[in-house]
């Protein structure tokens, strides 16, 4: 259980800047996800930490040891690969035992056996020790890869999209199991994924990457509820966010969002929208930012339902607002809403996000009046460790 620090770490491949001056502190025992689209530099970060690649600039610390130039086998780091990278010619037992056997001084065979059996039992692989990887299901292979990483009690675990080869169902279960495992072994875990749901559900903190740059580093709650910029806002959440450009105006003593075709009142206990009055802003609307209301008129948007999507317990309703903006919101699964229906949508100001249209950065700080609210997610996440 060790902390990890990146200090202004950059990595270039030819002209391409794969990682741009990364600063990242991971506390001992944390479960940190690196989240971002393909090619954003997540794997590069992991490979630099593992020593599979060397940083062009900057320092990488594992605990209080500077590891630049230290070869992978000396970093005391374990890694689980997206493809699992199980040795196909070795049994499960041999795969798990490999890290012990590769190292000097030799661990006695009896000792190895004891350790392997213990790890295998922990992961529910006890029965499978004599099998070859190709005789295992995806989930079992994934657990063998974990076992191989766990066997030598490393300082840090690195996991590179370990779930992305599994089917939807299994992925969900493994996500849960991984989290429990972390709770039990309490080691430092760095987890790479491009699936925001995965990152959200498992991590104590999430580092969101885009184009080699760290965008935001915070707890899942904060990432979701206080995204630092439009990229983060759009990347997390099950569905894409809808952006509407407009102006915040003071009208008839009320703060309103004016977007050409419609005006909406902005009123929330914890926020003070009047601070940004007069500004051009980009509003980000998630599913929960709108709700269907009976009342019509100036307090709601009259929209036409374009599509409905049953989604488990909910029904997701897509509707187009005057001016063409595509909005969406949740309804009860049983709700009788059909395509072509007119619905009135009202804003849930607590769940609306505002960004500067020029930079894309959040202007939440200008609005929030209750500072403790902004730390809520953080506090909670720490509880999870």
């Amino acid at each position: 259980m060790t902390s990890v620090r990146f200090r202004s770490v950059s990595k270039r491949f030819g002209a391409l800047v794969a990682l741009d001056s990364l600063d990242l502190d991971i506390e001992a025992g944390e479960f940190v996800s690196l989240l971002g689209p393909s090619g954003s530099g997540k794997s590069t970060t992991l490979n630099l930490l593992a020593g599979l690649q060397e940083a062009d600039e900057g320092e990488i610390w594992v605990g209080d040891r500077l590891v630049n130039g230290v070869s992978p086998d000396k970093r005391d780091i374990a890694m689980v690969f997206q493809s699992y990278a199980l040795y196909p010619h070795m049994t499960v037992f041999e795969n798990i035992a490999f890290p012990l056997r590769a190292r000097r001084p030799r661990v006695p065979e009896a000792e190895i056996e004891k350790l392997v059996v213990r790890v295998a039992d922990l992961l529910g692989l006890g029965e499978l020790l004599a099998r070859y990887p190709k005789e295992l299901s995806g989930g079992q292979q994934q657990r063998v890869a974990l076992g191989r990483a766990m066997i030598r009690d490393p300082k840090v675990f690195l996991l590179d999209e370990p779930l992305s080869n599994l089917d939807a169902r299994l992925r969900m279960r493994m996500r849960h199991d991984l989290k429990s495992l972390h709770q039990r072994i309490q080691s430092t875990i760095v987890y790479v994924t491009h699936d925001q749901a995965e990152a959200m559900s498992m991590s104590s903190r999430i580092a969101v990457f885009n184009k080699g740059k760290l965008q935001q580093y915070a707890s899942p709650h904060e990432i979701y509820h206080q995204p630092a910029n439009t990229f983060v806002a759009n990347f997390v959440g099950d569905r894409e966010i809808t952006f509407v450009d407009g102006r915040v105006e003071m009208l008839a003593g009320e703060v309103q969002f004016a977007a050409g075709e419609f005006n909406l009142p902005l009123l929330a206990e914890t926020m003070d929208f009047s601070r940004i009055a007069g500004r051009h802003v980009r509003m980000g609307l998630r599913m929960e930012s709108l709700r269907i209301t009976e009342q019509s008129g100036s307090r709601a948007i009259a929209a036409t339902v374009t599509q409905t999507e049953p989604s488990g317990p909910d029904l997701v309703v897509f509707a187009s607002a005057p001016g063409g903006a595509e909005l969406c919101c949740r309804a009860e699964a049983g709700a009788r809403i059909a395509i072509g229906d007119r619905v009135n949508l009202e804003l849930v100001p607590e769940h609306v996000h505002f960004f500067d249209p020029a930079t894309g950065n959040s202007i939440a700080a200008d609005i929030h009046s209750h500072p403790d609210r902004s730390l809520g997610g953080r506090t909670m996440a720490s509880n999870n460790q």
Partner: protein, 287 residues
């Protein structure tokens, strides 16, 4: 934990540089090992006859001359060269044509006895050529194809098609079957699918197997020397073998002819070698 502000030392950089120097050295040794005999032959071919046997030998010709090359062309080495080209091209076309169709059938079409056929192919690839020459000559003479380029083309194709089938078979298997299914659903027949979808995507496999046929057809002399008697149908290796002939080892013309025969294969090969390797690696030796 203290974080040093001094720039990080990078001993691994220096290690990398010395490793690349060693690499270059090894590469040089490989090149020397592979090319020395050929370069020595080249040097010999450029020496006047009197200098060829002098001791100590001249590594670089002191009086370079093209007389041996001139002599070869005066005495008509063109005919064997053209013959070799015809035979090589003919053999490539025939064996790729027949081989591709057969390989596709084995890879994708249903029929009983496929396993037997695959065994047949592997067995064919393992028949020692020398043991075939005498009966083959008898056979060819009976159908009046001995002493003709057509006969040679047929023979070379027969010897190389199993290998072509083998490479292309694995290559076709490595192509996504969805492409063919898509073409079938889109309304193409099997043969059209092969022509329009499979073959255009089999570049490396075709080139690799084609190169095998070319190198065989261009280089063979064991078969040609037995089958060909007339000067008109002589291929290049037979002509070269002729310089080992009755009236002495004419090292000058011999090495010159050798160099002439080497250059085209090397040219073709260097041009295509990328495919040669990828075709081989995805084809004949890996499935």
């Amino acid at each position: 934990m203290t974080i040093a502000s001094s720039p990080v030392a990078r001993p691994w950089r220096r290690r990398a540089r010395s490793r690349s120097a060693i690499n270059a050295l090894i590469n040089l040794v490989i090149a020397a090992f592979a090319l020395a005999p050929i370069l020595w032959g080249l040097s010999t071919s450029l020496k006047p006859t009197q200098d060829i046997l002098v001791y100590p030998p001249q590594i670089v010709p002191e009086r370079p001359t093209l007389e041996h090359y001139a002599m070869l062309f005066q005495t008509g080495i063109q005919t064997p060269i053209i013959n070799s080209v015809i035979v090589s091209v003919g053999a490539v076309l025939l064996s790729l044509g027949i081989g591709a169709i057969a390989a596709y059938a084995i890879a994708r079409l249903p029929f009983r006895g496929k396993t037997v056929l695959i065994f047949f192919i592997v067995a064919l690839m393992s028949i020692p050529l020398p043991s075939l020459i005498v009966p083959t000559f008898t056979f060819l003479a009976n159908v009046h194809l001995s002493n003709s380029l057509t006969g040679l083309i047929l023979l070379y194709s027969a010897y190389q098609i199993p290998f072509v089938v083998w490479i292309l078979y694995s290559y076709f298997l490595s192509l996504p079957i969805e492409l063919e299914n898509a073409a079938l659903i889109d309304g193409y027949s099997r043969f059209q699918t092969l022509r329009k979808v499979v073959l255009p995507l089999s570049g490396p496999g075709l080139v690799a197997s084609g190169l095998f046929v070319v190198t065989f057809a261009w280089n063979d002399f064991v078969v040609a020397v037995a089958m060909i008697s007339s000067g008109e149908s002589k291929t290049l290796p037979v002509a070269i073998y002729g310089y080992l002939g009755f009236y002495g080892r004419d090292w000058g013309p011999l090495t010159a002819a050798a160099i002439i025969s080497i250059l085209p294969v090397i040219a073709v090969f260097v041009f295509f070698q990328r495919y040669f390797l990828t075709g081989m690696t995805s084809g004949g030796t890996k499935s």
